[in-house]
Symmetry: C2
Subunit: 237 residues, 2 copies
């Protein structure tokens, strides 16, 4: 069995494909054989993460653990999860899945740190579940960064709406909603807006270049973190 990077995808499916494309593009390779070996588990029949966190919905943890175990059985030595909200269950997934998992918010923090954003305000967009989970805000606070979020009504009509449109394959509509939500945060003083839901970069990648350049794509930072991990240790394992 080949040692591979296991991707726990499907949350949503297009975000998993986007992550794989960004991982591939971020890899310094000159031919097929130099790319990182990957298995992507994209079984989207997983209970909704935000509903579980906020409204007592069915837990997605058993289905996610099934995915991690399938990836482990197939040769995974490292797990990446291109879904921010899923990281609410990070500790259980890492301990019960018995594999190292790169935390998407750690990857974002590293990118912010590299960009030397200083003591500024950072905008944060994500699902209600991610915002309630607090793993981004806690990390921002440690770096002395002020966090700006959308107001509840903006969240429902712009952020959550954009995410739902991506999951339903309506990117044209999603880009308008997501751009408007990001602009609200820039208007309130954010120097960067973290796209802390893997559906959001799929919308913002199609937005005006100027707005896009001021957003930080969590999917992209996770892809870069995987390439760094693999380059440093993957070959030797």
């Amino acid at each position: 069995v080949k040692k591979v990077l296991g991707i726990l995808g499907g949350m949503g499916p297009l975000a998993g494909a986007d992550f794989l494309a960004k991982l591939t593009a971020a890899t310094p390779a000159s031919c097929d054989q130099e790319h990182i070996p990957v298995i992507l588990y994209s079984v989207p029949q997983i209970p909704d993460r935000t509903a579980a966190i906020l409204r007592g919905g069915a837990s997605p943890l058993p289905a996610m653990l099934e995915g991690v175990r399938a990836l482990k059985d197939a040769g995974a030595i490292l797990i990446a999860i291109p879904c921010n909200t899923a990281h609410y269950w990070y500790d259980e997934l890492a301990s019960q899945g018995e594999l190292p998992i790169l935390h998407i918010a750690d990857a974002v923090i590293r990118a912010l740190d590299r960009q030397a954003v200083g003591n500024t305000a950072i905008g944060l967009m994500g699902t209600r579940g991610t915002l309630a989970a607090g793993f981004y805000q806690q990390r921002f606070a440690k770096l002395g960064l002020n966090c700006i979020e959308n107001l509840p009504e903006e969240h429902d009509t712009l952020v959550a709406a954009a995410i739902a449109e991506v999951k339903a394959n309506r990117l044209d509509s999603a880009v308008k909603l997501a751009s408007a939500a990001a602009q609200k945060l820039f208007d309130r003083g954010a120097t960067r807006v973290v796209l802390g839901c893997t559906e959001l970069p799929l919308a913002i990648d199609l937005a005006e270049p100027e707005l896009r350049a001021r957003c930080l794509d969590a999917t992209q930072t996770l892809a870069t973190a995987c390439v760094d991990w693999w380059s440093a240790r993957g070959q030797a394992i």
Copy 2:
């Protein structure tokens, strides 16, 4: 174990991600849970297909069969292979892999048939291995379609060069080469050009819309064939 669509990818890695994105976009779904469950095996450490067909290089069949078996063990009930050249080994993969495999050239033929191209000339771009294998030309002949290919020198300097650039993550350069190669076939009377290598749509997707509209993307047709198969039988299995 969930019943899933198994994707034998990695040939190349970006083509596998492209296939997954096109599969997702082609699926009539309104939320995550309505998308097709998929496992993508993208272990690109597979001997070069064209070198094996033309120059007696190491056979990729054992590595490809290892992938099919890993997918089967993980729950695959159908296999799709987003690599045209790999279909040279279609019969062995289907019989020894013991799973149904949708043939990418059958998917292309169905799309050409739907577009009612009549008794015209069809351009064909692909690797030297795919062109030598003949599975496209045989199917075109059955439909009474004349097949136009690039001249050997054009193939080396434009088609093969474009494919190599995609595998090395240089899409800007690839789009120029691939567009020039397709234009040669249109100049010689092709009404459509089949992009019969999964790296080529990654280049042509960035080309002028007018040229792009006259090309037929084999990756896209395979994605549509998977959605059709799954809609018709997947839910009941």
